[in-house]
């Protein structure tokens, strides 16, 4: 679904992405973790086609949609109009309403974005991404600003949407537990490349304390440079 070969992005002398290779299969849920400044967001922006200064080869098949950390709702458009923004096909409104229904926000369709709670705004942002029927869904730390309870319900929502629509997903996060709970494969970004890759076979919903999850958590934290005792 997405293939990158030798992806490089420099800011001045520093190569934030340094000849990075990445493959995401159709329908695969990939989580990417990394320390701040490791280039997670840079990679996501490159995949979204937002970075023109990135070099290397990048092939992305089909429609790409993005949900950002800040929901980026257009404040002067009501929720429904945000979701349908840029949809040109006839019946856009019906499709947009259905997407809002799916994320459980149907009754807020006529609300102004500034009146939404953080979780509601993120749902609207997800609906806007989904309504485009993406084959690759990029999620840039979309849950990091939410409170713990809202985050858990958002995790469930994202999983159920993913299971229904089966887009390939790249979730950028700094939360190891989030990655462990959601992804088929967890990548660790370090020194501008994929430093580590771990597949998770455990069926969802996953037990946080399952031995294989515990072991993988220790391993991933070690990859991130956090000693086991200080793990979360």
């Amino acid at each position: 679904m997405a293939t990158a070969r030798g992806l490089t992005r420099r800011f001045g002398d520093r190569a934030v992405l340094d000849s990075l290779d990445l493959d995401i299969a159709p329908g695969e849920f990939v989580a990417m973790i990394g320390r701040s400044g490791s280039g997670k967001s840079t990679l996501l922006r490159a995949l979204a086609g937002l970075d023109e200064d990135v070099t290397g080869t990048l092939t992305v098949g089909g429609q790409v949609a993005v949900a950002f950390q800040e929901p980026r709702l257009v404040p002067w458009k009501k929720v429904l109009d945000n979701v349908r923004l840029g949809l040109r096909a006839a019946g856009a409104e019906t499709v947009a309403r259905a997407a809002l229904e799916e994320v459980g926000l149907a009754e807020r369709a006529a609300a102004w974005p500034l009146t939404l709670s953080g979780g509601e705004a993120q749902r609207a942002s997800l609906a806007r991404a989904l309504v485009r029927r993406p084959s690759l869904l990029l999620l840039d730390e979309p849950f990091s600003a939410l409170d713990a309870l809202t985050r858990i319900s958002m995790h469930r929502l994202v999983l159920s949407l993913w299971e229904r629509h089966k887009p390939a997903v790249l979730l950028v996060t700094h939360d190891v537990d989030e990655a462990l709970a959601l992804a088929d494969r967890v990548l660790v970004l370090g020194d501008g490349r994929i430093a580590h890759s771990a597949a998770i076979e455990l069926p969802r919903p996953r037990d946080r304390d399952h031995p294989s999850q515990v072991a993988l958590r220790v391993r991933l934290l070690a990859e991130l440079g956090v000693p086991a005792a200080a793990g979360t």
């Binding site: 950002f68 980026r72 002067w76 840029g86 102004w112 974005p113």
Partner: protein
């Protein structure tokens, strides 16, 4: 409630006038201003006609200059706000012209355009243009670039970006500009009308000044003030409707 303090002030003023503390040669009493206004409305003065005729003449000058001024300002600011090339071409010129004191240009306008309506309309136009241009430009540039990026991801065309993101996002600036334009153009109107006019509120003021009729001057000033308040009220009402999306934290 907001009317209490102005009403008290007028009461105090009337009291001071009635007791002779404020001599009528300096400041006439509110009662005699009302009386003068009534006389101006009901009698057709050979020099400047009735008050409503003067108001009509001034209102027309203001309407023409103001509306043309803001239309040009919005169009030009949209152009320079959206395009760096247009900004480099036009914005420096506007900035240079803006630094010339507007009212100082008037004698030159009379040399160029004579003493008819044109120089008066033009000075009002400029009074409306500059605040409108500057605030609309700033409004467009203040739109969050992240929303522009979002528009690109959503596949918006250039025109759709302008229509859905840039223009609505600039509206707060546009309304600030409108309110300042009302003030600026009224100021320009007052000055423009006092030079070489033969009708209108400014002309009425000039005539009254020659005959030391300061109650007429007061009436004309009050009419100007009412014009300004009215226009400001219209702008604010429209603003509340158009910017309802941010209402939650401004009200």
């Amino acid at each position: 409630m907001r009317l209490v303090s102005p009403v008290l002030l007028v009461g105090l003023w009337q009291l001071l006038s009635a007791t002779g503390v404020l001599p009528p040669s300096k400041l006439v009493s509110p009662v005699s201003i009302v009386h003068t206004a009534y006389t101006l409305i009901t009698t057709n003065n050979p020099a400047y006609g009735t008050l409503q005729y003067s108001l009509l003449v001034s209102g027309e000058r203001w309407g023409i200059g103001f509306s043309i001024g803001i239309v040009i300002a919005v169009l030009l600011a949209t152009l320079t706000g959206l395009s760096r090339v247009a900004e480099v071409c036009f914005d420096p010129i506007v900035q240079v012209l803006r630094s010339i004191p507007l009212l100082g240009i008037l004698p030159l306008f009379i040399v160029w355009f004579g003493i008819g309506e044109l120089p008066k309309d033009l000075i009002v136009l400029l009074g409306a243009f500059f605040p409108m241009y500057i605030n609309t430009f700033a409004g467009i540039r203040s739109v969050d670039p992240k929303l522009g990026e979002l528009g690109r991801i959503l596949g918006l065309s250039r025109w759709e970006l302008v229509r859905h993101i840039a223009l609505p996002g600039s509206l707060p600036g546009v309304f600030t500009g409108l309110r300042l334009s009302v003030v600026g153009s009224l100021l320009a109107l007052v000055v423009g009308e006092q030079i070489n006019a033969n009708a209108g509120l400014g002309f009425m003021i000039n005539q009254a000044e020659s005959f030391l009729q300061n109650s007429i001057i007061m009436v004309a000033l009050i009419v100007y003030a009412i014009l300004g308040l009215l226009a400001d009220w219209i702008v604010r009402t429209t603003e509340r409707k158009a910017l309802a999306w941010r209402g939650e934290f401004t009200q």
